[in-house]
């Protein structure tokens, strides 16, 4: 899922300073699962904005809404139901949602309530960790299923750097060295000889270094 977390309330209050009517708009996709921007968080954020503005002696009217997703055109059209009732939208979706509203509603003012952080998973309740960087050219079949692009601090492709110590990364002793993990896992799978294959110099154009990416599926377009 896409993992995000709420911006500091001060930053959000700065965005809404001149607004009298605010649509706080949640998303029922990834940000609901990572407890950053679903219906529950919309309720909390709306409350915090009202309290923060009231402290400054200002009254605001807040509509609390949410969409199935904010990354699909058909759902963005759902904002029409609040047409004329808000001055600005505070979106609690990931950055994709905010971009989509900005793309599709040219005269709506929309601001992000979240910092979109990474693609990750939840190893235990309340914890999320980065697992994939969306590089567009997956190598997990060569690395025992563990990603060196997202999980090695230097995105090294051919084994660990010289700083790996006792399975930990040199940037921080709390962080696993994913190359140690790849080595250990390939060993357990009796595939350690894969470590000897040298990966060629990579073409990073699929990773966004060639500009914004687009996927087109001809079989699905109408």
């Amino acid at each position: 899922m896409i993992v995000a977390e709420r911006k500091p309330i001060d930053e959000i209050l700065g965005m809404v300073q001149d607004a009298e009517r605010i649509l706080v708009l949640g998303c029922r996709g990834c940000v609901t699962v990572c407890s950053a921007g679903g219906e529950r968080e919309v309720e909390i954020l709306a409350s915090l904005i009202r309290l923060g503005m009231k402290k400054q002696g200002k009254q605001v009217e807040i509509i609390e809404g949410s969409l199935v997703r904010q990354c699909d055109k058909e759902y963005i059209d759902g904002i029409d139901q609040w047409q004329g009732r808000y001055d600005i939208i505070i979106s609690t979706a990931c950055g994709v949602g905010v971009n989509f509203i900005a793309n599709l509603r040219p005269t709506d003012r929309v601001y992000p309530a979240l910092n979109t952080s990474f693609l990750g998973g939840s190893p235990e309740q309340g914890v999320w960790t980065e697992q994939c960087a969306g590089c567009g050219n997956c190598v997990l079949h060569l690395t025992g299923g563990l990603c060196p692009v997202a999980r090695c601090a230097k995105s090294l492709m051919n084994g660990p750097c010289g700083g790996s110590v006792n399975g930990k990364c040199e940037i921080n002793p709390q962080v696993e060295c994913v190359w140690q993990s790849i080595h250990d896992r390939l060993g357990r799978l009796d595939n350690q000889e894969m470590m000897n294959d040298i990966m060629p110099i990579r073409d990073w154009s699929t990773a966004g270094h060639g500009g914004p990416r687009k996927t087109l599926r001809d079989d699905l377009t109408i």
Binding site: P8, R40, L48, L51, G52, K54
Partner: protein, 140 residues
Amino acid sequence: MSFTPDIQAFCCHYTSQQTVAEGREGLKNDGLPDSVTLNRLVCTGKLQVSALLKAFEDGADGVYVAGCPADECHNMKGSKRAAKRVQAVKRALKELGVEPERVEMYHLPRGFHMEFVEAAQEMDKRIKDLGPCPLKGENK
């Protein structure tokens, strides 16, 4: 200037059995301050962050939660969950530039105990010392 705070207490069924048995008058005789309004819940684990914030929106100067002892909650982890949510509200108050002490978690023994009244008295004193909650916007 005399100030009678509005303190909202959220108590679980078990820590607040006293309130049912003694009634408001009985509790008052035990020393429960007038500033405290008791809200009974089946379990404090049911309390959401938004409900605690709503109490501040409705004009509370202080809010506290009384749940079972952390490791002896009738519903296993209810009061531990509540304590986490109180922590989240403390962080939110701090972010808003308001004293985090305005919200508190108490783990109290179940049944009839003076601690139930003492918690209310402690909050009453604390909030009187802090004065009216700035979130009411009355200082502007």
